[in-house]
Symmetry: D2
Subunit: 159 residues, 4 copies
């Protein structure tokens, strides 16, 4: 694998903030950036009735969505400017009910550099000040050029 | 594994309809039942700006949520009355951009009967009348008693 | 994704035969090619005491190894000459005891062409003439140039 | 989930040693116990020509087999006496070539107690004294009664 050119890592992090505030699912579901550094990104999401499953816990798809977003961001922070990680596959184990007021996804890149990036993600649920691990997963990302993958959203949404 | 008692399979299917129309993520995200039979459930979801990722395609978490719901439903249709499948883990490969007007998840139970159920799920994106496979996954479910797992949502949401 | 150049698909299949007969785990564990066509490869392996787990069934690692080999081969048959699929990740659900005289892995490429290839694999156990699905999985492959990835085994084994 | 009765954890660890020395794949492939404590098990395996893939690295199935064995052992150490974890599913990402003289799998139980146990596993390759992470995975286990799952191997192998 060829090494990416030396870059300042601030740009991928500003890219992350930009993507998180664009119209779309991350913004609409209330995802927010808690922390971002090269290779590590933490995102959070508050409880809301429209994000729950039948028993009143965060829905598995909602948990996976937060984990996926955090993993993609963690890998992207390791990529050269102008590149972004898109998800090849993700797998998540649900370990305990996500019944807190908030879920927090902490992603850490385990591999990056070439075409493929891999991150592990732990998802915590916070209930009355107590944290508990509620999910754990691994995601595989593919690095793509940003222009090709991200047309301006307005162009895509004029349906 | 002990066999479940003989049952009519209509009840799990009516349970599915009940769950899909309860307040929560499945209803809020616009999931609908296309088809349900013992061991096979098809769900669909229409494109909506608040379900997209940065490039204007269905978000990975949204795709996984639909796949998860369909898989749980497919396994639940094989369980005795009063039992429901909750997700142990799910894994999804994203095969092509989910850029259609709709995504459709077709889940098929591959194992069921005892404590564990497994379903495979293919997710199709439909664009201008053309279907394309955009994701494929496997989910593992655990059968639990319905009363314990599903308090009335109002009881759970009076926070 | 750019399309691979048009090729005859016979070469990747002869590559598969060559790899399966090289010294190493596939040969030592008794894997054999049952069938190979573009995008579809079937491999089999006979029961042997040194491939079993504690209860006398094929070991999970052995089942995964056969599934992995079949998936890599199925993806490789879709690649241009001189390219081979190496495993990025694999996931396998074990659905029933692999207690037959033989296991058979049938892999089918679901995505191929660019850098990433994905295959699904079903593993059958055959016992007294009866086939039963004993495992199901998905593998993600990365296409690499053959010279870089495959030095002659003698060069690698002169330790 | 009901809690398992309080037990001494020494018995599952002696069970682990017993299983690892029974005839079968773990013993035949050279797996050995490096360390075992409640919830954490480390296994290792030395390089051998019959465990390698075409490029002279440990085969993906061999890596997964060691990871699977370690995960099952880590979960089993948390179960009451007479119970053992059997694999429901496993997923492994291959992060760098397993080209060392040895691979070492470190499994840690993340969930245990009831019917389902989950462990994460990191696999290290050791080459000329340098360790490198070469694989990372998650496995889901199901607790079963030992007598039913483990007939004496001789009974099973009299074919």
């Amino acid at each position: 694998m060829s090494e990416p050119p030396a870059i300042t890592r601030t740009n991928p992090i500003s890219l992350l903030h930009r993507i998180m505030t664009m119209p779309g699912y991350p913004q609409a579901s209330g995802m927010r950036v808690v922390d971002a550094a090269p290779g590590r990104v933490t995102l959070a999401m508050a409880r809301r009735p429209d994000l729950m499953q039948f028993a009143g816990h965060f829905h598995g798809g909602v948990i996976t969505g937060l984990a996926d977003q955090a993993a993609g961001a963690a890998v992207t922070t390791m990529l050269p400017e102008g590149r972004i990680g898109v998800t090849v596959e993700i797998k998540v184990n649900f370990l305990s009910p996500a019944d807190g007021e908030e879920i927090i996804a902490r992603a850490e890149a385990m591999q990056s550099g070439g075409t493929i990036g891999v991150a592990k993600i732990e998802v915590i649920t916070q209930k009355k000040g107590v944290e508990r691990l509620c999910a754990f997963g691994i995601a595989t990302m593919r690095a793509v050029d940003l222009p090709a993958a991200a047309p301006t959203p307005s162009a895509d949404d004029t349906r």
